[in-house]
């Protein structure tokens, strides 16, 4: 790469001011994307459409209408489970390999209105189900810091695109940590909003009561700016929150952590956590304490059960949401002589992880097991939420690791689904509780003979609709981090 790419904040300001054009920005993005092709971050590019849209943005700027274009000319990578009209939305699956969405997700419509340009759709674990982007039907995405390792998942493509400097912004989706975990693995900022903060209309459903579109940037300001554009209530999504969005992105650097109470959750610092990641959390904690924040020990006693709850509740919803892929109205259909065979042969195109989750989810909901699994799962989920509510009576935000280990080699966890699932142990609780959370880069693990230095991510979680405060603390930590 020739020079460090501009941030979205800088680029949008430059385009609005006439010091840069959307056309240039988009052109540069496609160059960088091609250079980073070996990462396999993108599944499809929409070059012609992007250049037309960029030209339109430039015309609007020239006509003096640029002031409200918060993301004027900024190229964005969009995870391929978010509908962009007129182009592929494959969800990383052979079931939708040739499917073209007839509508935009609401978040995409908001991006367009802000002058952003979607340059392409990015790779993901099939239907967002996975923690490594190895479950894509179209091959894995590689980690920009070490291409023998995973980029994380399921939003691996969008995160890699941002981390590799192809584009300043990415949209991903979160159900169990799918934006934060890859962000931690690749050294980017990843944001999971409060459930309902961003419309789910046009986000292909996985775990409907957990899903949220998440934002990705190289900096906190960028990720916050993107969230401020896509957040807000939507009449097309009955689960979207009516809470007013407020200003999420301006003036974050002025905030001062003095007086804030930061929670240190006992259950997140036990066995299985790599020492370098623990050290990163401690360093961040100490910087906050030095700046006048109060560090408070908190307990989230139901944390150890997060994965188990997730694999009942979320997976049950997932199996239900996948029932519509039957070859009748759109997407892949296998040739068959009778209807049942058509269903069976068509759905045989799901990858192994999908089949596993469909089986698991169907089992959890099936007669005789519903109470023990789904029923119990939702009850414990309420307890997990209760843990956070109690903690937030005493603290304003909770600091923790994002993942127990850094990015692992491609193929390492392929044969052990449970081990793969346990990756999400620190991220999943926020999805279950519906609260917002962000992952921030904090240095690297030490390079060893076996392993290069790899990015570390630390996590902040806050009460419902506290994204602004998380961004403020995150902005402070960003200044203090080893990467600054």
């Amino acid at each position: 790469m020739r020079h460090a790419p501009r941030t979205a904040v800088e680029l949008a300001a430059a385009v609005r001011a006439g010091n840069a054009t959307a056309a240039e920005a988009v052109g540069e993005a496609f160059l960088r994307i091609r250079q980073a092709d070996s990462l396999h971050a993108f599944l499809s590019l929409r070059e012609e459409a992007a250049r037309e849209e960029a030209a339109a943005v430039d015309r609007r700027i020239a006509a003096g209408e640029g002031d409200e274009l918060l993301l004027a000319g900024v190229p964005v990578a969009v995870k391929d489970n978010i509908a962009v009209a007129g182009g592929p939305t494959t969800c990383g699956s052979r079931l939708l390999q040739h499917y073209v969405s007839p509508f935009d997700a609401t978040a995409i419509a908001q991006l367009r209105a802000a002058g952003a340009i979607v340059v392409g759709k990015t790779n993901l674990d099939e239907f967002a189900m996975g923690s490594s982007t190895e479950n894509s039907a179209f091959g894995p995405t590689r980690n920009p810091h070490d291409p023998t390792r995973v980029a994380g998942g399921s939003s691996g493509g969008s995160v890699a695109a941002v981390a590799a400097g192809c584009v300043p912004l990415g949209l991903g989706s979160e159900t169990g940590g799918s934006v934060r975990q890859p962000a931690a693995f690749c050294g980017a900022v990843g944001v999971k909003p409060t459930y309902g903060r961003v419309s789910r209309f046009g986000l292909v459903a996985f775990g409907s009561s957990l899903d949220q579109i998440g934002t990705i940037g190289a900096t906190v300001d960028d990720a916050a700016l993107l969230l401020s554009v896509v957040a807000g209530p939507d009449p097309k999504d009955a689960t979207s929150a009516t809470e007013p969005v407020g200003d999420l992105a301006a003036g974050l650097e002025e905030a001062d952590p003095a007086g804030l109470r930061i929670g240190w959750p006992a259950e997140y610092f036990g066995a299985g956590l790599e020492p370098a990641i623990l050290a990163a959390c401690e360093a961040a904690r100490d910087r906050l304490a030095d700046a006048g924040a109060e560090i408070v020990d908190v307990s989230l006693p139901h944390s150890p059960y997060g994965i188990a709850v997730y694999y009942t509740v979320a997976i049950a919803e997932a199996s239900s949401n996948l029932a519509r892929y039957d070859g009748v109205r759109y997407g892949h259909r296998a040739t068959a002589a009778d209807l049942t065979s058509m269903y069976l042969k068509t759905r045989a195109a799901f990858g192994a992880e999908l089949k596993r989750r469909i089986m698991l989810g169907t089992y959890v909901l099936s007669a005789g097991y519903y109470e023990a699994f789904y029923g119990k799962g939702t009850a414990v989920r309420a307890r997990i939420r209760g843990d956070f509510e109690r903690a937030f009576e005493r603290v304003d935000a909770i600091l923790s690791p994002t993942t127990p280990t850094p990015a692992f080699p491609i193929g390492e966890k392929a044969d052990d689904p449970l081990a793969m699932y346990l990756n999400d142990v620190y991220t999943v609780s926020a999805n279950l509780a519906g609260i917002p959370a962000i992952s921030l880069p904090w240095g690297r693990t030490p390079a060893t003979a076996d392993r290069p230095a790899l990015p570390i991510g630390i996590q902040l979680m806050g009460p419902d609709f506290s994204e602004r405060r998380l961004f403020e603390v995150g902005r402070f930590l960003e200044r203090e981090s080893p990467d600054a």
């Binding site: 509908a83 499917y99 007839p102 409907s208 689960t239 996948l322 029932a323 169907t362």
Partner: protein, 487 residues
């Protein structure tokens, strides 16, 4: 078609009906597609009702109101909170692979519908529950595959489940008729079984008379008229009775009614293992109904058919028979009342509505109604006609002709009578002259009449009518003839 068998003597039928009713909303339950019947296939569809990736449902307030109206009118307890649930099964006309319905937290429970049995007595049929759900598309099976039209997919339905209180196929028929009338009156639905806006699945079991425990039930589907429901139940009762008589057990299964053959056949048992895997619909919020809003709906409920018939007897002094005919449908009752408001002889209005107005409407393939346009004509127009008749300007038979022309051309009564010179002669002096002339011309008949042949009055009437071109006021002529012939 086989004749329904006589009731199986030692066995008592126990019948419950699950009726699906399409609500008369403008748009579908979870999307803005139109609901009009009869559109070309797959022209009233969108990504939401087609279950596209990323599509989400949003609940139609109009559907909620109609459902609440129906539940209140059926005497149910409407729950302040009800919850939608996903009901999973695979079928080509069910796009999402699940139907959004309600399961353990339905809209309403615990109501009743009164029916009038053939012997005149009343019976109350319990209603277990009323819940909201979406309709599926329509599948047509052919040799080259199954064709699916998704226009119907996503239409709002209420499912009305009765208690197993029905004791015979005839009661089932009466229950369906009463339910249809009640829901039509509320303008909740067209309740048109031919168009599919009302569908019925029947559950039936037998038990020894006097026994309180229920026997094994079977479910009969695919019955698309009230008569077929009656026939299918009769068939099934006979079939179950024969099994039980042989000392065997009835198998719990689902049967499809074949109207052509007049029999119900079991579906393949593999299809029966439905594990619907219900769980609460995560894409929709709970449905919370405000007590004040419910009270408003309850207050605004239109008069039901039975109450309206009673009022017609009371307020208009009509015989029960008339009241029954006139309240058969709400539009007809509305039409009658509008006419009765414009003409001060309700019995006369009733006779004409039950007679000529209904006949003319039927001939034209129309139903009597006030909206969207008055059909077959406006009530006030009938009132004008009846006023002319009452004033003696036209006779009853002429009035019938005039009415037919009014319906045909849309012209008013007075104009037609004037243009065609139909006003009858009611001038007593002029008529007296004609009567005198006829009497003078037929001395023989006069003598015969005076000698006892009273039937000859018809002959004299005919003669006067001939002389007056049919325009003599017959009552006047009759009176004059009798007066002068008595002479």
């Amino acid at each position: 078609m086989r004749e329904p068998a006589a009731p199986a003597g030692a066995w008592e039928p126990v019948i419950g009906l699950e009726v699906h009713v399409q609500l008369a909303t403008a748009s579908k339950i979870f999307c803005g597609c139109a609901t009009a019947y009869g559109a070309p296939p797959n022209t009233q569809i969108c990504p939401i009702c087609l279950g596209y990736p990323g599509a989400l449902p949003v609940l139609n307030a109009g559907a909620v109101e109609l459902a609440a109206r129906a539940a209140l009118a059926l005497g149910c307890e409407v729950h302040p909170r009800s919850i939608f649930a996903r009901k999973h099964y695979f079928y080509p006309d069910l796009p999402k692979g699940y139907q959004i319905s309600q399961y353990d937290r339905p809209l309403a429970t615990g109501g009743a519908l009164a029916i009038r049995l053939d012997d005149g007595s009343a019976k109350s049929i319990g209603i277990t529950r009323v819940h909201l759900e979406e309709d599926a598309g329509k599948s047509t099976h052919g040799a080259d595959g199954t064709r699916v039209d998704f226009n119907r997919c996503g239409l709002p339905l209420i499912e009305v489940v009765s208690e197993p209180d029905l004791a015979s196929p005839r009661e089932a028929f009466l229950y369906l008729s009463a339910l249809k009338r009640s829901l039509e009156y509320l303008a909740v639905s067209d309740c048109n079984m031919e168009e599919g806006s009302l569908r019925c699945d029947a559950n039936v079991s037998l038990r020894p008379r006097g026994e309180s425990r229920l026997g094994t039930k079977t479910e009969v589907k695919n019955v698309n008229s009230f008569r077929y429901v009656e026939a299918a139940l009769a068939f099934e009762i006979e079939r179950q009775a024969a099994i039980l008589e042989r000392g065997e057990a009835v198998v719990h299964e689902t049967l499809l009614w074949d109207a052509g053959r007049g029999e119900a056949r079991a579906m393949r048992s593999k299809e029966l293992s439905h594990d619907y895997r219900y769980f609460p619909e995560p894409d929709l919020e709970p449905l919370d109904l405000d007590a004040a809003w419910l009270a408003e709906i309850r207050e605004g409920l239109p008069e039901g058919p039975a109450a309206r018939a009673d009022r017609f007897v009371e307020a208009y002094g009509l015989p029960e028979y008339d009241a029954g005919v006139l309240t058969a449908t709400r539009p007809l009752a509305d039409w009658f009342e509008a006419a009765a408001a414009a003409f001060d002889d309700p019995k006369e209005v009733s006779n004409w509505v039950m007679g000529e107005v209904l006949r003319l409407a039927n001939e034209r393939g129309e139903t009597v109604a006030l909206a969207p346009e008055p059909r077959p004509l406006a009530p006030a127009a009938l009132a004008q006609l009846l006023a002319l008749k009452a004033a003696g300007t036209i006779s009853g038979s002429v009035a019938k002709e005039v009415l037919a022309e009014m319906v045909e051309t849309g012209t008013g009564a007075a104009e037609i009578v004037r243009e065609r010179g139909l006003a009858q002669v009611s001038d007593a002096a002029a008529l007296a002259a004609e009567v005198d002339a006829v009497i003078a011309a037929h001395p023989g008949e006069v003598a015969a009449f005076r000698g006892g042949k009273q039937g000859l009055i018809g002959f004299f009437m005919g003669q006067v009518m001939k002389r007056t071109g049919g325009q003599a006021n017959p009552q006047l002529v009759n009176a004059l003839l009798r007066q002068k012939l008595a002479g």
